[in-house]
């Protein structure tokens, strides 16, 4: 079977699975799987850029996805005027002070030398920290006191929500630059631990800095790029058209909204996929793979390995940030507690490995396929477990077995990953 035929038939299979969901379960769940599949495919593309192209082991995907989510709040929510007046500038001044002291410390480290260097840097950082806290804390208190039940944060810029997607990419890219500057060049598993830590810190910041995005109180009602269902149902022209298809207005409106998202997401995915393919086939892509396969040789050829690693790390993280912004837009709310590393970091890794690392189409395929499995394992497991326990007497054990089905998906993902690694280590669509 040629590569092309294999790719086409596997994508056809995934399409069939999603269509099957539409026919057997409901078109709403099929579209939901499709939408999240598109987002997952985009995240997988980002990780594939880092791992497949360059061999960078980034297990902080969750952090970049969450930063994308934050971007949606910061860009699209209307600003809270009272909060800005209460302490907005003070917070900004505090942050600026903090950043300035870090920059000063780095400069001091570079410019000075000798025994006193460590003490000078430590003193600058210490003084900077207390200055920052002194200015920053009061501002935070003032902002969070403003109408705490409904806002208590600075709000966003009130810009169109679609603009949040590139902003999410930029935010993630900025974070990736800072991380890359410090952690790249370390050994692969050190980089892994470092990125794992960064992701946890990003989530901790999202949960605790209430002035920024309300922390665990969540930001609800994010603006949408597509019409609201209620408005559609109230629109006589829409209801009439829906009736033409034999659909009731409620179902038709939910389908229409989801289809709108699917269209937007597809556009983004296709653009990124084309760019990634062009990058892979370009001299830049060949250089990346040369660095991945033999760093020493590439360095001997005069390639700037650290620089290229930084570049690809930022690009991949930016893609994850864009995907994160899209996902938060789809959800319509930012809930920091929902970010779990198994779901947002390691599941994406399963997608890339199963799809085929180093192959962009493989990453996209893995994104769709694994997302489909992740969603459908639960009802499938429920059905099987229902069958197994049907003969059992009612009781503690039966209840426990039925309850445990919801954790089956973790087990299944582990088994899929291990099976692929063992029997088809290059994935469903191997790198050419």
């Amino acid at each position: 079977m040629t590569d092309r035929l294999r790719a086409v038939s596997l994508f056809a299979l995934v399409a069939l699975l999603i269509l099957g969901t539409g026919v057997l379960q409901s078109w709403n769940s099929a579209l939901l799987i499709l939408n999240m599949g598109l987002v997952s495919a985009l995240m997988a593309l980002g990780v594939n850029l880092q791992w497949g192209f360059a061999g960078l082991f980034n297990v902080g995907v969750m952090g970049f996805v969450a930063l994308g989510g934050l971007a949606v709040v910061l860009t699209s929510m209307p600003p809270v005027g009272a909060a800005w007046q209460a302490g907005g500038l003070r917070i900004l001044a505090g942050l600026a002070l903090g950043a300035a002291s870090v920059v000063a410390a780095v400069l001091a480290w570079r410019r000075t030398s000798g025994k006193m260097r460590g003490w000078i840097v430590a003193a600058i950082l210490l003084v900077g920290f207390f200055l920052y806290r002194a200015v920053f804390d009061a501002g935070v208190e003032a902002v969070e006191a403003v109408d705490a039940a409904t806002s208590g944060y600075l709000g966003g810029l009130g810009l169109p929500v679609l603009l949040a997607w590139p902003v999410g990419g930029l935010l993630a890219a900025g974070a990736a630059w800072i991380i890359g500057k410090t952690a790249l060049g370390l050994r692969s598993d050190y980089l892994a631990i470092a990125t794992l830590g960064i992701a946890e810190i990003v989530i901790a910041i999202l949960k605790n800095e209430d002035w920024m995005a309300r922390g665990v109180k969540n930001v609800n009602g994010l603006p949408r790029p597509v019409p609201y269902e209620i408005d559609l149902q109230a629109d006589p022209a829409f209801v009439e058209r829906a009736a033409g298809f034999g659909l009731d207005p409620t179902t038709a409106s939910t389908l229409w909204v989801k289809a709108g998202y699917a269209l937007l997401f597809t556009v983004v995915l296709v653009i990124v996929l084309i760019l990634a393919q062009l990058a892979l086939k370009s001299p830049w892509g060949r250089m990346m793979r040369a660095i991945r396969d033999n760093e020493t040789a590439a360095r001997a050829m005069g390639k700037n390995v650290t620089g290229r690693h930084l570049q690809v790390f930022i690009l991949g993280s930016a893609i994850c940030g864009i995907a994160g912004a899209m996902m938060t837009t789809l959800d319509g709310q930012l809930t920091p507690t929902s970010y779990q590393p198994l779901r947002y970091t390691f599941l994406i890794w399963v997608m890339v490995i199963v799809g085929g690392s180093g192959n962009n189409l493989g990453a996209v395929l893995g994104g769709f396929f694994i997302w489909f499995a992740w969603v459908q394992v639960e009802p499938l497991g429920q059905a099987i477990m229902g069958l197994v326990t049907s003969g059992m007497a009612e009781g503690e054990l039966k209840r426990h077995l039925l309850d445990s089905v919801q954790h089956m998906r973790l087990l299944t993902m582990g088994v899929i990953l291990l099976l692929v690694l063992r029997f088809s280590p290059r994935g469903l669509l191997p790198e050419r």
């Binding site: 082991f57 598993d189 830590g197 946890e200 605790n208 198994l342 445990s404 582990g414 063992r422």
Partner: protein
């Protein structure tokens, strides 16, 4: 100024919790560092191995409790630990046989083994949640305190109380015993010596007739024991929740790396460095400072450097500083 009260407050809120937490991290980090030293990869499934061993211990504890067995003032879980270790050892040995051995034979690059361990992590995670569920479980019984704050105040007449929980005492005693046994084993026994030889130089060890598969098996046994003990101690001291154990991966790895991956002594030092910095930086120093400074200098705020939710940030920053300035860790670990 009242330095005595300051010291009591300091011990109560910083020293004792940090020593207990540090011992738990140290035993966890020993497991990570053993896998790294012998099998040469970072085992991402270690947190979930701890969760599994603890789960087996909890179930055995419940079994003992329902039979009416108890240890009096000590928690029943101590009796159940061997069962937990046995279950955990069976699991990791089976995993090694089915999963890791294949890749070892192929001599794959370490990062592939790390990805494989992510798959194993998913599976352990699923197993633990299917058997016991994802919720909090408390399984500590027996006396809660060795000295409670009130008794201490009555005994000494000081203003500040000093409470030592039973679990904290047990943690420290167990940690000392475990570490002593481990070092005796590694330095004095034939198997332990062959393990160190294998870790130092694989080819030389093979030439001198050391059976690699045996070394690996013994390593997994020790790792299972360390993981279960660390998990049970942490669970007794705080509470058991699978997700918390997964999150412990970060401070444990930080401890192992700060100490120097592959160095057992380093893992212990790293565990205490991480624990003390986490507790000290997230503790509100107001009380201690009020006692130790003259009244005119007493602080107004809480003097808390970071809120407790940022404790991960502390392990992380220490990790990055050590990696930047001393990449092989404090105790010169190995670099594969």
């Amino acid at each position: 100024m009242d330095l005595l009260n300051a010291f009591v407050a300091l011990s109560n809120f910083v020293l004792i919790p940090a020593i207990a937490y540090g011992s738990q991290l140290a035993i966890g980090a020993l497991g990570v560092t053993m896998v790294y030293g012998i099998l040469r990869f970072s085992n991402f499934a270690h947190g979930d191995t701890m969760a599994f061993g603890t789960m087996a211990t909890i179930i055995a504890t419940w079994g003992l409790q329902s039979m009416g067995v108890s240890l009096g003032p000590l928690p029943t879980a101590l009796l159940a630990i061997p069962v937990g270790i046995a279950a955990c050892a069976a699991l990791v040995l089976a995993t090694d046989r089915v999963v890791f051995r294949f890749y070892r034979a192929q001599k794959v690059v370490p990062v592939i083994l790390v990805i494989v361990s992510i798959g194993v992590m998913f599976i352990y995670n699923g197993i633990t949640r299917i058997i016991l569920g994802p919720d909090d479980q408390r399984f500590a019984d027996g006396e809660r305190f060795i000295i409670s704050a009130r008794d201490f105040k009555e005994m000494t007449g000081l203003e500040e109380g000093l409470a030592i929980r039973t679990t904290q005492g047990i943690t420290l005693v167990t940690a000392v015993i475990v570490v002593a046994l481990l070092f005796w084993f590694l330095n004095r026994t034939r198997t332990g010596k062959s393990m160190r030889a294998y870790s130092d130089n694989e080819d030389l060890a093979l030439l001198s007739g050391i059976d690699p598969e045996r070394v690996v098996r013994v390593t997994w046994l020790i790792v299972a024991a360390l993981a279960t003990i660390a998990g049970v101690l942490y669970g007794l001291d705080k509470s058991y929740k699978p997700f918390t154990y997964f999150q412990l991966l970060l401070p444990i790895f930080a401890a192992a790396i700060v100490g120097g991956l592959g160095s057992p002594l380093g893992a212990i030092a790293g565990g205490f460095v991480i624990a003390f910095s986490e507790v000290a930086i997230t503790y509100a120093w107001k009380k201690v400072l009020e006692y130790s400074l003259p009244e005119s200098l007493a602080p107004e705020g809480l003097v808390q450097l970071l809120s407790t939710d940022y404790k991960f940030a502390v392990s992380f920053v220490i990790l990055v500083i050590v990696l930047l300035f001393r990449p092989t860790g404090l105790f010169r670990g190995k670099a594969v």
